[in-house]
């Protein structure tokens, strides 16, 4: 889309513009050295066209071999930057041997240029020819002299030391010695000889050079030379000099040339191979293209694009992967202040920021938590995908930035959002049980250096580790806020705008070890896979499903995205008491005996957990555990949290009801010994009943699962525990009031029968886990219980 403004195209025809004076270029031709190899002048117009076509065909191949051929690379500072984005170049396929000849000689470079212009002109000639063939050909040539002068100079520099650009363009080219013309090789050899002489200088001498104002030209040349040497180290190295010396030199030079701090550059050198490192550094010098996201709540992408084009904005759709994105090439009006922007038709958002929401894939009528939402781009994207149904809780810890969240959400017409100002680590205590959670964690920002160059120097080892620590805490809180038993969800997306392994793979690996989650594919079909090993660290193999994005390969901000699925609401305890392996592979296998404790406790009180662990928590059925957990989660929040239950999957309720019906008869019995009190926690009473409860629960836990319906009071305790929750919140399944009271009382007293009850008072100690256990010998169970 967008008008193709092509000032070089000659205007022909009877109109006003055709009669105007042509530009300076046409005048200058008279003074510049005549276009030398103009044998084309002597050809007829037809012959010229044919020649042009021939040349065009041979040269185009080089252009298409460039790896960054997507529309998302207008910022690239390569030769093709000469062509404006508006042009559509034909894309033929061709042999690659043409490339080498071309890159090495300036003439070919010019020919390529001319061929492109010619191709356009010849096309134009076919279509609309008012008899000005000569003119068009000439015009193609007229441009060239000026270009030629510039290109001569460029080519000189290029031939002299441009090894790494060659390397990018000519990937098939052999490493240094064999490739290129002998002239180039000699040049390179010469260069390196010169460098080697420098290297021979004692280190003190080199340091001296640094303290003087560094000559950037020389530094740049040295960088290229070292890269060339490193590429073929065996052959090109200087005797007696180790690879690490070259690397050190390179690091210092890069730090000087691109103004990086040593720490960050060291980290980058660990992360990227040398050639890619240069590309990355170059990409960080240039801003990424401006992208925006259509607000489908108010408009369509097509209509918005049309409206913006009418205002004078040059834009294009973002890519196949996005249905709402647009990339802005240039604009005559401020793109952040158009009436369409103010009316909330679009939001300025980086392309990489759209990806985590696409990975999260929120469904309608879900409950979503966005833990670090400012300035609200991702939150509004979630809302538009959900079509303003369900509820989003948008949270951020920074009050200043929350104002922009409010503004953006109102402007974009998001009505299903609640905005809160909590530290993310306070979830899920505040409220939990979300279907999906998005955590865009605060990070060191090493992926968005092009937006904030200060990151180059002010990031330190401490900063990165501090960020990583915070991210780990936030991630654990986020995982705990997800409801694994959610019908439609149970997913969490963790993303950062950083490329450091400490903040990305390490944090994800940590979470895999600490919680019952696993990684799932993000659903994004492009992007680099995350690392499964990095230097001395080894990560879980599923980390391959995470995605990394870089500015130099994808032309979007550096990003990392990981998608988790929580498969159990219980929190594994790694270090408590006996057993308790608490591994991440905490599949719902009837894990067992001592290991039950690992799955059982959600509470964070060690003492309680220890006791519980010793009591050999029985394993609930697979289905029961998440149900109970979800109940517990919901109930744990507050007594007034009626809303929580609304999200309890009805399936669980149904199951609970079936169990309840079984045990309804037992409720009376269960009620008898206890006198539950609704108000507060009465310790004295608690203890009294605690002991009796304990006995009951002990009995309960000793029973194998299969005997649920057999024993009167035992299963009922667990049942009643569950039912009254339903009861309280009005979702009664016909339970007696007494059952409700009893359960409430139990809840208040922190009955650990249900291992996932954690909200209740920490006083509650030895509450054995609930009854549902597999068939085991009672004796052995009892043994464990009383150990």
């Amino acid at each position: 889309m967008g008008r193709k403004l092509d000032p070089t195209k000659e205007k022909r025809g009877p109109g006003r513009k055709a009669g105007k004076q042509k530009g300076a270029e046409t005048e200058l031709v008279r003074f510049l050295p005549a276009a030398a190899e103009e044998n084309s002048k002597r050809l007829s117009s037809r012959a010229r066209k044919r020649a042009a076509k021939r040349r065009l065909g041979s040269i185009e191949a080089s252009k298409t071999s460039k790896p960054l051929g997507t529309k998302l690379s207008p910022g690239e500072l390569r030769k093709e930057a000469v062509q404006t984005q508006g042009k559509k170049r034909p894309a033929p396929a061709h042999s690659s041997d043409e490339e080498e000849e071309e890159e090495d000689s300036e003439e070919d470079g010019e020919v390529e240029q001319r061929a492109l212009w010619d191709s356009e002109d010849s096309d134009a000639e076919m279509v609309d020819d008012y008899g000005a063939n000569l003119n068009s050909e000439d015009e193609g040539e007229k441009l060239l002299p000026i270009e030629r002068a510039a290109r001569k100079q460029k080519a000189q520099e290029a031939a002299a030391g441009d090894q790494w650009s060659d390397e990018e363009i000519d990937e098939e080219e052999e490493m240094s010695p064999e490739s290129g013309s002998t002239k180039d090789e000699a040049d390179r050899g010469l260069q390196i000889n010169v460098d080697e002489e420098e290297f021979i200088l004692p280190p003190a001498g080199e340091m001296e050079q640094d303290t003087q104002a560094p000559d950037l030209q020389r530094v740049h040349k040295r960088i290229q030379d070292i890269v060339g040497v490193l590429r073929d180290f065996g052959v090109q190295r200087e005797e007696g000099r180790s690879r690490s010396e070259y690397l050190n030199r390179l690091q210092k030079d890069l730090a000087t040339y691109y103004s990086y701090g040593d720490f960050l550059l060291g980290k980058l050198m660990e992360l990227f191979p040398v050639s890619e490192l240069i590309e990355f550094l170059e990409a960080n010098e240039v801003p990424r293209p401006i992208t925006l996201r259509t607000n489908t709540l108010k408009t369509r992408r097509r209509d918005l694009a049309q409206a913006l084009i009418n205002r004078g904005v040059n834009l294009d759709p973002l890519g196949k992967w996005s249905k709402t994105g647009l990339v802005v090439y240039d604009s005559s009006v401020p793109i952040g202040a158009t009436p369409e922007y103010l009316a909330g038709h679009y939001m300025l958002q980086g392309a990489s920021s759209m990806l985590p929401v696409m990975a999260l894939a929120p469904q309608e009528h879900e409950r979503i938590l966005d833990m670090c939402c400012a300035p609200g781009g991702k939150t509004s994207y979630i809302a538009q995908l959900m079509k303003n149904t369900g509820v989003i809780l948008a949270n951020d810890a920074n009050a200043e930035r929350l104002k922009s969240v409010v503004g953006n959400l109102h402007r974009l017409g998001v009505t299903n959002a609640i905005i809160s100002h909590y530290d993310g680590r306070q979830f899920p205590k505040v409220v939990g049980g979300f279907d999906r959670v998005l955590l865009d964690a605060p990070c060191s920002g090493t992926g968005v250096i092009s937006k904030d160059p200060a990151v180059k120097t002010n990031k330190d080892e401490k900063d990165v580790l501090r960020c990583a620590h915070l991210q780990k805490e936030l991630l654990l809180s986020a995982i705990d806020s997800v409801n694994a038993a959610s019908k439609t969800g149970g997913y969490l997306v963790y993303c950062t705008c950083s490329i450091m392994v400490e903040e990305n793979e390490w944090v994800v690996d940590y979470a895999l070890k600490k919680r019952n989650v696993r990684l799932v594919p993000t659903g994004l079909d492009f992007g680099q896979e995350g690392f499964t090993r990095f230097r001395e660290r080894r990560f879980h193999p599923t980390l391959r499903s995470t995605r990394r994005f870089y500015p130099h390969t994808h032309n979007m901000d550096g990003f990392f995205i990981a998608k988790f699925k929580k498969f159990s609401n219980s929190i594994p305890q790694a270090e408590i008491g006996n057993s308790a392996t608490g591994t991440s592979k905490n599949l719902d296998l009837p894990d067992l005996k001592g290991q039950d404790s690992s799955k059982s406790e959600n509470s964070s009180q060690p003492a309680k957990k220890a006791k519980a662990a010793t009591k050999a928590k029985p394993l609930l059925q697979k289905g029961q555990r998440p149900k109970k957990a979800s109940f517990q989660k919901l109930n744990g929040i507050s007594e007034g949290a009626d809303s929580e239950l609304s999200t309890v999957p009805s399936a669980t309720k149904a199951q609970m009801s079936s169990r309840l019906q079984d045990s309804s008869q037992f409720l009376g019995k269960a009620n008898v010994p206890k006198k539950p009190k609704r108000t507060g926690k009465l310790k004295g009473q608690a203890q009294k009943s605690q002991s009796s409860e304990k006995a009951a629960s002990l009995r309960q836990s000793t029973l194998p699962k299969g005997r649920d319906t057999g024993t009167p009071s035992l299963p009922s305790l667990s049942e009643t525990q569950a039912t009254p929750r339903l009861n309280e919140h009005g979702q009664t399944l016909g339970k007696a009031k007494g059952a409700g009271k009893k359960a409430k009382f139990q809840k208040e007293n922190g009955t650990p029968k249900d291992p996932q009850v954690h909200t209740v008072s920490p006083l509650k100690s030895s509450r054995p886990p609930p009854a549902k256990k597999r068939k085991t010998a009672s004796g052995s169970n009892r043994q464990r219980l009383f150990s």
Binding site: P339, L402, V406, T415, V430, A641, S643
Partner: protein, 180 residues
């Protein structure tokens, strides 16, 4: 967060009714669920009932916003409508004013609408009637008060004010701080 008192509700509805008249009922009884108004920190929020339960869990000092903010009560208990309510006023507006493309920018900067910028105006607009301002492309730009009735608008000279500015969407940028 609390529901509005009778008095507050009356004041607010009166204000809103100036713009949308009896369509106000449609705001409350909606086919897709019940919506209600809640007061928090002197601001009135229009929320769906499904959200209220979740919002109840959040502490008062930590709650920043919920649903859509319609406006706020001033210290003297008058109700002031904010531009954030525009999405709900615009579809139900009874009296509308369209302004020419040239005058859009001026209105978005907070200026009143002059006769020279007036494109169209609903018939039978009384003086001092609440109106919603649109661009010629039917994009709602804000709302205001008609300074002249429709008849008077025809007669008056081009530099006279025809619509007093009250709120416009440019405030999302100009007054970002005070939206909350």
């Amino acid at each position: 967060m609390r529901p509005l008192t009778e008095e507050e509700t009356r004041v607010m509805f009166e204000k809103i009714a100036k713009y949308i008249g009896e369509n106000l009922q449609l705001l409350v009884d909606r086919p897709d669920g019940t919506y209600c108004f809640r007061l928090h920190n002197d601001r009135v929020y229009y929320v769906s009932e499904k959200m209220l339960k979740l919002a109840a869990n959040i502490a008062g000092d930590k709650l920043v916003s919920l649903g859509t903010c319609f406006g706020k009560f001033t210290k003297t208990h008058k109700f002031r409508l904010h531009v954030t309510a525009l999405d709900y006023l615009a579809p139900y507006a009874k009296y509308k004013v369209w302004i020419k493309p040239g005058a859009e920018q001026s209105f978005l900067y907070g200026n009143h609408v002059l006769k020279s910028g007036l494109g169209r105006i609903t018939e039978n607009t009384a003086q001092y009637q609440g109106v919603v301002v649109y661009s010629m492309a039917d994009v709602p730009l804000g709302f205001g008060v008609a300074a002249k009735s429709t008849q008077d608008c025809r007669k008056v000279d081009p530099m006279a004010i025809v619509v007093f500015h009250q709120a416009d969407i440019g405030e999302y940028i100009r007054h970002e701080e005070t939206l909350t």
